[in-house]
Point group: D3
Chain length 139, copies 6
């Protein structure tokens, strides 16, 4: 149960309805998930979060499934139950295979493990990584 009322389409004001309509148009479904219904209590926030998300998650130099996997990785590390569920569903809906999902979990698990080891031993960053990165940038 959320800290706020979930706003249904019929009880929403014009600004919220416009966002809901755009969500339905972009996603080609009538379904509005709870994240947006909760945000709808604050129409400005709803509008900004939706428009940013629409732009960021669209395929670009990184494809849509990969973007979902990156999103899941962050959400797992932050222990965000809602986000893990909604974006795992999204990733499968956009074509993530079972094999890719297994590899995603394995990479997340490896990074979590090694984050603990590097942080535990406070390993100093190698100079060469810093230099290589600068060279990448043409310095």
């Amino acid at each position: 149960m959320s800290t706020v009322k979930l706003v249904e389409y019929d009880e929403a004001g014009a600004e919220v309805k416009a966002v809901y309509d755009d969500i339905r148009r972009v996603r080609k479904t009538d379904f509005i998930n709870n994240f947006w219904k909760a945000l709808a209590n604050h129409p400005d926030l709803l509008e900004r979060v939706w428009s940013t998300g629409k732009e960021v998650m669209a395929p670009g130099e990184i494809d849509a499934v990969t973007k979902e996997m990156i999103y899941i990785a962050v959400s797992v590390a932050n222990a965000c139950e809602y986000c893990v569920h909604s974006h795992t569903a999204s990733a499968f809906a956009k074509g993530m295979s079972d094999g890719q999902y297994g590899e995603l979990l394995a990479v997340i698990a490896l990074a979590q493990q090694n984050n603990g080891l590097a942080s535990g031993m406070q390993v100093p960053v190698d100079q060469v990584f810093l230099k290589e990165e600068s060279q990448e940038q043409g310095e």
Copy 2:
């Protein structure tokens, strides 16, 4: 400065030398970065972490650059300075473009933002996500 001595090749025992040799062989470079030199204080741990990492980060159904981007995403959420630097260098070395890097940062930023909103409002998971996931699994 790390909590442990960094073990150089010449002062390492046989078990550590064998791992260092394999790192050099797989990566086609003489360079051993500090993460392994720190782990080398605990040879069993070094061996297990290296062999797991080698297996998990190899290209499979997910390609090598994408795996690095997922790894970076976890490391950013966990605020692991060493891991962010070393795997950003790795991702560029394996072919991540500047455009992909910008999109990676944008997806991480979006997920961080939305993790905060979903957790802040304690949004309940939609039943349809749970059902869809089960259907994905053939139930």
Copy 3:
């Protein structure tokens, strides 16, 4: 379901009853929430946590509603479900408006986003921030 039994008033020992009585006195309600009933399994811990909280959350140079909002911000970043729910209820009870709540969520979301960006790019701290802070302290 918690890892410990929730201790009700009637089954509590004298030390726990004294804390429960003080909670009721300070909060002007008979209601004892689950956090204290769980802590009551360890009376010393209960006593210390309650007395510290009573002191820290009392209005001072920062008012009581603002303190609740700061508390919520930390709890969201740490993904503490119980803490988010209990302190959001507290903040509303102490007078947080719907408008303030929307702005609180927006600031949390912005900080989460920018934490990801600053950590992702490992942005070095500007010297002027460090200098300005010292000047604040009269050095």
Copy 4:
């Protein structure tokens, strides 16, 4: 040292220069801090992050100093070194007193402690918190 080149005004393109100019105008100072210089490698991201931040951090129903304190709270929980430094400097610059800073630290410390206890014992959320919140929303 960051993973990207810091973009100075003189070497920036028109889109970045426009954001830098707006930062200078809004903040009434020529100084551009490193966060923006790092983001400038990705002009779209720079523009969006700046315009969102400008809107969110402006005084509203919550005043500017309180917004900075909420921002700091999130950044501390996420261990974001850059963000803690830059927003602590901002908060002092906008008028946070030494006394308020001490109370801010005390509330953050209390929330961190209690997040650990509630998560450690997996305390179930009280029904009354959920009900009270709904009543707040007029249900």
Copy 5:
């Protein structure tokens, strides 16, 4: 409800059955908990995670109960509900006393609090800690 189907013994393939058999043999019980049933969707991952865990959690220079307490501490800081529950049950099953559990919670709470304070004030590491650590290593 998990993002994956939980794999029961009777529907498992040979590789998964072999791991389940080993879990039963090592733990001297027929019970297989959900963590393994979820991992069984990815047999290679299941095998590696189980064999690593079996090795790491076995008593060594640190006894089995202490290892469970360290595991709980990490899981609390990461807000992993499943891990907190399963390893608190494990720790009690392996002999953790109620008194030890209370002290474990108190140390976790203290560390959480002080992590917030040290991160909040960005306290610089004392040179002597760095030197002492090196001396520990015989330099």
Copy 6:
């Protein structure tokens, strides 16, 4: 560099000097580490944090070295650089062996890995863990 001035003994007020004297007495050394010098800007906070820490970290049903290891585990998961360094130094000073340190790192790494997997797959808590815990408590 910290966000606050580090308060040296000679410039401290009576309340701070009393805490510094107690730290020296309890630890049998003249050395005061930076954490306390930073906290000394807020004498009430300094006094409470020191007295709580002194009580919690003293040997009880859990010995002093184990308490340090639990503290390190939390600090690693929270990526608190200062805390990892200061408590790793403490643990070695109180007698942690190199072998114990290696096992501590291995358990932290395992927990980090499995936290990621359990959170990634959102594994539901087994009923038996909940029941066993209640039975532990004599219900």
